[in-house]
Subunit: 113 residues, 2 copies
DNA sequence: ACAATAGGTAGGAGATCTCCTACGTGTCAA
DNA sequence: TTGACACGTAGGAGATCTCCTACCTATTGT
């Protein structure tokens, strides 16, 4: 049992591509159609479609059909999982920073005038 | 300028592999040697070395030579960058949850007895 | 000095990723 | 209905990833 690894698995893989991170960033401002999204990239529209499929498979976006267009919408859950995955590491670097501050305080004591 | 994309770039790619996420998890408890790390995997030690190289290139770990061993240590900075990358999305899902709560409250009003 | 230990590197096989162009499907407007 | 539009899918070329087995170097203990 790898615990949280199961769910987080392909979310990280999906976010590994700069194009897909840019897509999620574009969707922060609200749902958008494929052509709208594709217009922000140099690459062909079908390629953007494929990136959207990867994001969809990871649960990061959902699609809603509206006439002949499809609106892609950002989904929060997988991102919350990334946040949860990150939390032990947050504790880790907080401890590091705390240790650093302590060290600086000792140094400050030495140099008090 | 893609802003935060620059630094975050290969960090996400490095974390895309389950093996490498497992490696960083192992390093949470402190620095470890390569053999120590490799013993937790089915795969060959050279392959683990390669994964460590990817993590090192992303700045996620550093190596310290100690005799004939090399201790790998988790580095906080790249993880903090992931956290910073995540923060606009945190705002996004907080808004979503707030909207959901509001909806539930309205629903509660309808059902008051 | 020599064998054993710790670990990186080379080279390659096979899988996967990323992009393309062509083409198919559903929907709207005239 | 017919053409234009919005989008997905197929198939394939080339790059990259992931793992392996050699093999090499540096360090330690005897």
């Amino acid at each position: 049992m790898t615990g949280s690894e199961h769910v987080t698995a392909d979310v990280f893989a999906a976010l590994a591509s700069p194009v897909r991170r840019e897509l999620t960033a574009l969707l922060l401002s609200g749902p958008r159609s494929v052509n709208d999204l594709a217009s922000h990239f140099e690459m062909s529209r079908p390629s953007v479609s494929e990136h959207l499929r990867v994001l969809r498979d990871a649960g990061l976006v959902s699609e809603e059909r509206s006439g002949r267009r499809r609106l892609y919408r950002l989904e929060a859950e997988p991102l919350m999982e990334v946040s949860r995955w990150l939390s032990p590491y947050e504790r880790f670097w907080r401890d590091r920073l705390a240790g650093l501050r302590e060290l600086l305080n000792e140094d400050g004591d030495d140099h008090e005038h």
